[in-house]
Symmetry: C2
Subunit: 217 residues, 2 copies
């Protein structure tokens, strides 16, 4: 998006003969990432292949973007890092005593989705995720690794069993909440306060994560 | 979509000078309906205006399509009539004694969405509903009248209060289920049996419809 910065850094260029530093390099990495994620999916794309596509050293990709989730977020212009939001919401000590884990997850999600940095982009992001089978396939793997896995570990730690099923039930309700509120905007769910929504939906998330679910037959 | 049928019937033409009968007339009505729904929304569009746009008598539109919901379903190629599916699921006597209303709603929805007549079209339908603000606006009104209203009347009849909020909570979970299972296809929710899903999600629907929700502050 941004043009190569005038006078961009050239650190490392002498050593490898490859591009390094500067916003042009970052853009080349993000272009390569979008192509690799699109061709190979989120799980199949590797930092190594993305670096090769951009003509840079894999270490530079790690240096700029840390890990694959952060690189994906940058390439897709995701305005937040889902696994970090979830882990922060579930961290010890952040939750007021009277608030259940489910309520806190709903509150944290709403606060993130409606934060100044995210709010204007989120409806478009949800829409674009729905538009093609290719986008859906890429997102499916990303959701599984970055969103469902941390949720499943909550169920696992509570010894609730069937953790993957439980995590995807939570995902279905949270996705439905987001689309109802920001894309289709139907009914009072679109306008209810965070307090109302977390009180109503939080117990659902608690039950899905750690409550009683009839055993699979 | 289909061209005016060659040699289509001309019944009524002599009397009113307007088109009547024949598949060309039906197509003209559906074209006019799509235009009116798109311009005026689901609530704002009237059978009278749709008939005028097609150059036919309103009585003919009623004769062909019954009511506005059926006309909308035909114009948008909806493969089922939502309010009728919901009312049938909630009718007295159709639910096995051990199955809660919520479980029965989930089972009925899954059976409808995956029926031979609907299954191949449903993912595309969900996708197209997400693609534009105009489509979302039209769908919002349709969901409110055809889906949330019959759900709200269940909450109302049970004296649960806050019926519109309750109905939209159910809508959010059912929409999330549909998109998780048919569009994004993430996690075990995408592959779980109807039995598993109704056992897991049914109690959520029951609680949203008639269970305890903390009063709005």
């Amino acid at each position: 998006m941004s043009p190569r910065a005038a006078g961009g850094q050239a650190r490392g260029r002498a050593r490898t003969g490859r591009r390094a530093g500067g916003s042009g390099t970052r853009e080349a990495i993000l272009d390569s990432a979008r192509q690799q994620f699109s061709e190979s999916g989120y799980s199949g794309a590797t930092i190594r292949a993305i670096a090769a596509g951009a003509g840079v050293d894999p270490a530079l990709v790690h240096h700029f973007y840390g890990n694959k989730e952060h690189l994906f977020a940058a390439a897709m212009q995701l305005p937040f890092i889902p696994s970090e939001t979830i882990k922060a919401a579930l961290a010890d000590g952040v939750r007021p005593p009277a608030v259940s884990a489910g309520e806190h997850i709903v509150r944290s999600a709403l606060a993130t989705w409606e934060s100044p940095a995210v709010g204007h982009a989120f409806p478009g992001l949800l829409r674009s995720a729905m538009t093609s089978e290719q986008a859906a396939a890429m997102l499916r793997e990303f959701i599984t690794e970055a969103i469902l896995a941390p949720l499943a570990s909550v169920a696992d730690e509570a010894g609730a069993g069937d953790a993957a099923f439980r995590a995807s039930l939570v995902g279905s309700q949270m996705l439905g909440l987001a689309i109802t509120r920001y894309v289709l905007q139907f009914g009072p769910v679109a306008s209810a306060s965070h307090e109302q929504l977390s009180a109503a939906i939080g117990p659902t998330v608690d039950r899905y994560l750690t409550g009683y679910l009839r055993p699979r037959s």
